[in-house]
Amino acid sequence: MQEDNFPCQDIMTAVDFLQNFLNGISIGSVYAIFALGYTLVFSILGIINFAHSAVFTLGAYLTYSLAVGQFGISGILAGFRIPFQLSFPISLLIGAVLSGITGVLVERCAFRPLRARDADSLMALVSSLGVALVAVNVIQYLAGSEIYSFPADVYGDIRPAIMFHVAGKVVVIRTVQVIIFAVSMVILAILVYLINFTRIGKALRAVAENTSTSSLLGINVDRFILYTFFLSGFLGGIAGSLVGTSFGIAGPYFGVTYGLKGLAVIVLGGMGSVPGTVFGGLIIGLTEAFVPSDYSAYKEAVAFAFLLIVLLVRPQGLLGQSQIHKV
């Protein structure tokens, strides 16, 4: 009889819900961790730094070459391998620092000359885009376009997935996704503390508010912008490496999809709001995960639908404030 099936059906749906929820959190934290670096730069300079996708990608490649190193068959570095291999955490750190330095270089080459001339912010967009193109293609030239995977034991001897048993069925999440979620939460906490409770953070907020006034007040605007870009690159490098361990480094363009969705994340969260960004990433991830599998092909449009709706209805996003306080 129908009645008998009802309790079982409820549980099944609850299990599916839980699974989808976990899936959503996993992919959502990937978006969030990518967008954290993005949002830092936007809040200080008011521009979208397209080169962030390139720094994200670069970080992944750098960590890979330090930790694993064997390059494939295409590209100039085919078959090349760094003679020493470092452990993953060290490679991650060095890769992130190098990415941070790259972030600073990007600022020097692409943004500084335009700031000096007080140029249209459109130009900064194009400039950062050019940098992204160059960087990504240099990577392609060097390392080819094949997919590079981290070995399965990159985080040591942990089980690949965590399983929960719920009412006789199993709900799984891959451990690496849990790690990404945890790391993004930690980064969030550190950033919030940094921005709201330290002197450096205060200076950053001042610069974000008004660069000329801040410099009149004695803040070395250039130096703080440099810090911001370094931090943004550093975070991008970490994000890229972690995502690389989860999905593999799918070629030099693998940062670009995140770059586009990252736009939706920061707008949804509220531009310049760091907690908002994480929130935005998780919301988009969850929505994507709950799209019924018959319509799974429409998942790609979810982020952009959010972007469009937010822009038309509430441009300051969920947690951002309308143009007044940006950080």
Partner: protein, 303 residues
Amino acid sequence: MEDFLQNNGFLLVTLTQQALLAISLYYPLMTGQLSVASPGFYAVGGYIAAIMGTIDFFAPWRAVLGWAIFPLEWLIAGLVSAVLAVLVGIPALRLRGIYLALATIAFVEILRVLCLNMEITGGAIGIFGVPQMFENRWSYIWVFGPLLIIMLLFTWRLEQTRVGRAFKAVREDEMAADCMGVNPTYFKVMAFVIGAVLAGVVGAMSAPFLNTWNARQGTFDASIAYLAYVLIGGSRSMWGPVMGAILLAALPEILRPLKDARLIINGLVLIIASIYLPQGIVGALQRLRIFMIRRVSSMSGGS
């Protein structure tokens, strides 16, 4: 001559087509709006042509109209683009600056995903075997070429009329224009629609040219490319986008021997041009002309 056209015809036609698409981006820019929506309309136009050219529903139309089905495709593509542009434009053009750019990016992506999934657009595989207008590729210059010339003349004339001046006014200062009785939204939408219709018609012409059509025709990468054309060429006059398109679209072909490096060079061009040539190449040439004129007059004139 025949061989030259045979070998380079494709390139010539592509350059013309890219110049047209750059102009489609230039229109919203004339009113100060950065919209990268052109690839979306381009894709829609192309799909209309591809669908009308291949599916059975239109077979009787094709039989009756023969070659005339192509102009019909352009007409329908133009109409659909116009309607879509009005629907999207009116709410979206209330946004300013970067927000509008983002909204148009979102629009293009959503359109792309929709096309990726519908039966009628061939899903993710796309539509193959779109019927050709001409026997060979370079004959398409008879379609794109006149369109380009018409657009250039049209734009030139437009800039001299009231509408053109209104565009300029809105571009310089929207609030001031509003105070002077120029309705900014009306003109912004108009510019947006003209750009959209152009992109749609070019799309409808391009589907037969390229023989296949799929969702990869209307992507963010394309938006970036068109944007680069306009910015590099110069966004103040209509020659800017045209020059930019010709230069940047031809660069990868001329540099084909460098293969892998060609995209790097494209990127470098973007960086250098945006930093050192803010008015684009056309602007730089104009400054050069003024500089030369001054030098000549200071040499020939007196103190």
